[in-house]
Symmetry: C2
């Protein structure tokens, strides 16, 4: 029985524009699900596209992650296809997992007439069970024949990569490079879990801009640090996290090499907006989530320290359960700042909830008005602001509350 | 209404031996609780005792923690008294908190005729509310008059330092130093929480051995790393964690200076046993705990890496909810090993649950017998063993499961 759609979900899947040079197809391959739902997506890129990737830092990464790293290294940042399946993560599957990935690559390279290193892979689902690659490979020719560049092709692809997500996730944004208008759009999945060993986050973004591979990689890494690397549901890092960005070059903008070039400033902004939107949709689908929490940290030693403090707050079970209980429990925020291990000055710390300062200069504000704070805590969107008081470092982190729904999904489902 | 006693609690408080040179008193001072329950304990040491301390690494440490660090530095490792209250942590209380601590020190020093730096403090309870020190100081003379060295004095002290613990915690052990028999005994509190901003762990241990202060500090730090620093309930580090060990010297053993001296080997063993016992009792009183989990990590790069991997498993909400659901979900253990950030080889990893190997050489064991594993998961005591397969580093970590009870206690209590 499917989970009810998250109360934090957007009203509907957005209208996404076609990206010239990018085509999609999706099919039901019964990798694991026997309901006939689409579970494999093929995303094809016209020749000449560049690609960049950011992957899980897990030391037990899945076979497709290992393959993507290898393909990006060997392929010189060129790609022609991304093949994605749901239902099986092909993680902790040993040499058989590497073989399954190789079989998938072989089938796609043959169908599209490209090299092996131009084929990227992602898998999401159960960990530790061998991936039945033949269930996918026998559909690859049909997938290739069905590829479409119509705007309507986005949503089936976004749905095919879902596991226990309660809604498909997509976003788009436009930008300018040196006077030329370019478009970015992408889809993501994560991070609901019903089958108790599913835990992956995947995101695929595309643009018609012309951006050299090394530049694309630098821009993507930087944007990921401000977006996907600033979200948390439960602090558990997947074996399969994969974020890919492909640039087809069809917009005809002049190529800019230096990622710091001011002509790319608007692209940076657009990438932050696109990936931030997708990342926040993942949080809005967090298991059991009833509230969406934005944590703004200022006054830290630097941006990295601010992010670590924000994640310490966002990962604290005590903070997250307090918010589930609609309790503006700032003592727990103090605790989480303290345990982050970053520089902080107890006597300069300030904390605001819903825009109301509760503590300042290391003490509770005398006689602060609790009424607006209590009202804020009853809403769906919770804002926490922390000023550490020692520097200029700032970061924003997004998370959700920790509820009985999380326990239901992760502990009770099999019992 | 008090919480029911943890299902993992021992049958009763143990019989602890008197430690010559150590006396206890406890009184109801109504620091916060109005039920007449004892909430302040005074622990007095005869002149000549040495003391060592290990404290929270929180950057927002409470005022009593700051004071203890200062007193140990200035007092040359000598102490005459430890004053502890429950109900208010004197944390995030600014300059007023420092003043409250100073008032307590002043009162104890006057009552016992010792210097300020010979008085140590600990407070546990609500964060962010000013500590009403006068409620404590006006009882200090009476506490000093009631000090007792009888074995019966342990339990009232262990009860007085409880906040939302569901049972008092104590342990003892004996050892030999160069042929002389010495005794160690201690009490601890933690880490149940009902009032949603209580989160502290305190432990006080005593011995009649003669051990120089610097040696005592080295032995304590080392034992803490193998015991209290190897437990976790929810990964949230308190602002007040305090572990003190005092040595009265009344056993008459020869003083040994070098902490690595073989004549102290049995003391090391005894300290590991004592502090390990107290630390495991804290886990057995973890909020909502229904199962006690032992995680043994072997084959890591070194002991520190093994502990980090163990804590990554022990802090993973996905692992802890799976165990609550009695599901031997080893895929989540793989994930937690991977996210620890320590060296691991996917293709050498082995995982056993309840003594049954489930995965070996980076793959599920074909056709392993799930029956004994399923039976093990239904018990109160869960054993997980992970061999990382790359070195000789080993560590054991103790934790509990993550249940609806945790959410009830921490989210629902105020609502």
């Amino acid at each position: 029985m499917p989970l009810p759609v998250s109360p934090l979900a957007p009203a509907r899947f957005p209208d996404l524009p076609a990206i010239p040079g990018v085509r999609f197809a999706a099919r039901a391959c019964a990798v694991r699900y026997t309901t006939g739902r689409p579970d494999v997506a093929l995303m094809a890129l016209d020749p000449g596209a560049t690609v960049a990737g950011v992957f899980t830092r897990s030391r037990t990464a899945a076979a497709p992650v290992d393959w993507c790293r290898e393909a990006l290294r060997q392929g010189g940042g060129r790609a022609r296809a991304i093949l994605v399946n749901a239902g099986n993560a092909n993680a902790f599957t040993g040499k058989r997992g590497d073989k399954a990935a190789a079989d998938e690559v072989e089938a796609v390279a043959a169908a599209l007439g490209c090299t092996h290193h131009e084929v990227l892979l992602a898998s999401t689902g159960v960990i530790g069970e061998p991936l039945p690659a033949e269930r996918i490979t026998r559909h690859v020719d049909a997938l290739a024949a069905e590829l479409s560049d119509a705007p309507e092709a986005w949503e089936p692809a976004a749905r095919a990569i879902m596991t226990t997500d309660t809604f498909p996730k997509g976003a788009s944004v436009s930008a300018e490079i040196d006077g030329t208008r370019v478009t970015f759009a992408g889809i993501a999945k994560g991070s609901g879990m019903i089958q108790p060993d599913m835990a992956t986050m995947l995101a695929f973004a595309f643009t018609d801009a012309a951006i050299p591979a090394a530049t694309l990689q630098a821009l993507l890494q930087e944007a990921a640090d401000r977006t996907f690397n600033c979200i948390t549901v439960d602090g558990d890092t997947s074996t399969s996290d994969t974020l890919l960005l492909a640039a087809t070059g069809r917009a005809g903008n002049p190529a800019v090499e230096d990622p710091a070039d001011p002509r790319l400033a608007d692209v940076r902004r657009a990438l932050d907006a696109l990936l931030g939107d997708l990342a926040r949709q993942v949080v809005r689908d967090g298991e059991g989530a009833q509230k969406f929490i934005t944590i703004r940290v200022t006054g830290a030693e630097d941006a990295r320290a601010a992010r670590r403090i924000g994640l310490s707050i966002g990962n604290s079970p005590l903070v997250k359960t307090a918010i589930a209980g609609e309790d503006a429990n700032w003592g727990r925020v103090v605790m989480a700042v303290g345990k982050a291990g970053e520089r902080a000055d107890r006597d300069r710390l300030a904390i605001a909830v819903g825009g109301v300062t509760i503590a300042r200069d290391g003490e509770a504000v005398p006689d602060y008005d609790e009424t607006p704070v209590a009202a804020h805590m009853q809403g769906r969107e919770i804002d926490i602001a922390v000023d550490v008081g020692i520097g200029d470092g700032a970061a924003t982190v997004w998370t959700c509350d920790l509820t009985h729904g999380y326990i239901d999904i992760n502990a009770d489902y099999r019992s």
